[in-house]
């Protein structure tokens, strides 16, 4: 279909075009909800059956890093919302500023995630043949980033969990399957989002978005907020199991 200015040929009015895009985006987000739903179900069931292993696995995560990333992602959602606002009110420079901020916050999130994943590799906590939840406890010299004190409490907790669930290592591996599955999927969405944001930034620097037409900014915004919402759930589900001791 031919495009006349900002209006695509299959539409009669800009209003219809915008309405269509918004509805389409929301429906897409619903499919995303169901997409994450499958892995959520795997998580729910296994947490229900192997609670001790899930708690033990969760307690090996760093609450500082997870909490920091939550704040970063919430802040990026705010800057994204402000980018949309700038586009709606025609503040062309501000659009680019807020988009840049959003992208930067996104990269901070990636950085932290990289550190977290690195630690898990290092500590033999990646599902597979070498997985061993007792690795750090058994080889304190290999995990110099964990303090002796932390290791003592960790050992106690793991021993207690093993008393309740003799097959702790296998079941903790399921926790880590869920952890890497969910955060990996989430990170993949963030990568796609970051790509879209860069594309938006390029266009906004060219001055393409105006109060009359800013649909792409609005749509990517919806997507970015959705990714934020996923993290809002992932944080308590993965990091906050049975923290009170």
């Amino acid at each position: 279909m031919h495009r006349t200015g900002e209006l695509y040929g299959q539409f009669k009015t800009l209003e219809q075009q915008k309405d269509t895009a918004t509805l389409g985006m929301w429906i897409f987000l619903v499919t995303e909800v169901m997409f994450f739903g499958g892995i959520m179900l795997a998580y729910t069931l296994n947490r229900h059956v192997y609670f001790h292993a899930f708690a033990a696995g969760s307690n090996t995560l760093s609450l500082q890093l997870g909490g920091f990333n939550t704040v970063v992602l919430l802040a990026s959602s705010f800057t994204m919302a402000m980018a949309v606002w700038s586009a709606q009110t025609g503040k062309k420079q501000l659009i680019s500023v807020f988009l840049t901020l959003t992208i930067l916050l996104g990269f901070v999130f990636f950085g932290v995630k990289y550190v977290e994943y690195g630690q898990k590799f290092h500590h033999h906590l990646v599902p597979g043949k070498s997985f061993d939840i007792f690795y750090c406890v058994d080889n304190p010299t290999k995990c110099e980033d964990v303090s002796a004190e932390e290791l003592t409490t960790e050992r106690e907790e793991l021993e207690k969990a093993r008393a309740a669930d003799p097959d702790l290592n296998a079941h903790a591996q399921l926790y880590y399957s869920a952890y890497f599955g969910m955060t990996g999927l989430h990170a993949l969405h963030m990568v796609i989002g970051a790509g879209l944001l860069l594309w938006l930034l390029k266009n906004s620097l060219a001055g393409l978005y105006s109060p009359r037409w800013n649909t792409p900014v609005d749509m990517v915004g919806l997507y970015w907020h959705f990714v934020d919402i996923v993290w809002i759930y992932l944080f308590p589900l993965l990091y906050l199991i049975d923290r009170h001791k």
């Binding site: 619903v30 169901m34 729910t44 919302a81 606002w85 907020h225």
Partner: protein, 107 residues
């Protein structure tokens, strides 16, 4: 060209600021609540707070408060179907006799 201009509700930066501050506070609350022993209610509280946060994001950041009823129905359907998947599947597991992990007397 058309005379119809897109008309949309523009949320003010003040509202956004309030929301983000509330979100940050709630993040603190959820971490704090995780350290209080509420037995099986820890997960309930955590999910309740997460749901409040998600609702705020959906309503204000994503403008769901200002969109047509039709779009709100779409959002509702998504949440409802997710619940269906989780609830109906778990109903099987919770009400079954699960003979998991028992060893056989011979192989």
């Amino acid at each position: 060209m058309s005379e119809h201009e897109p008309t949309e509700h523009i949320v003010s930066p003040g509202v956004y600021l309030t929301i983000i501050l509330t979100l940050l506070v709630l993040t603190g609350v959820t971490v704090w609540a995780a350290y209080v022993n509420l037995h099986q209610f820890n997960i309930v509280v955590a999910l309740a707070i997460a749901t409040v946060k998600a609702t705020l994001v959906v309503l204000f950041f994503m403008h769901a408060k200002y969109v047509p009823k039709r779009t709100q129905l779409v959002i509702f359907a998504g949440i409802f179907w997710l619940g269906l998947l989780l609830f109906m599947t778990m109903s099987d597991y919770i009400s079954r006799v699960d003979y998991r992990g028992i060893r056989f007397p011979f192989t």
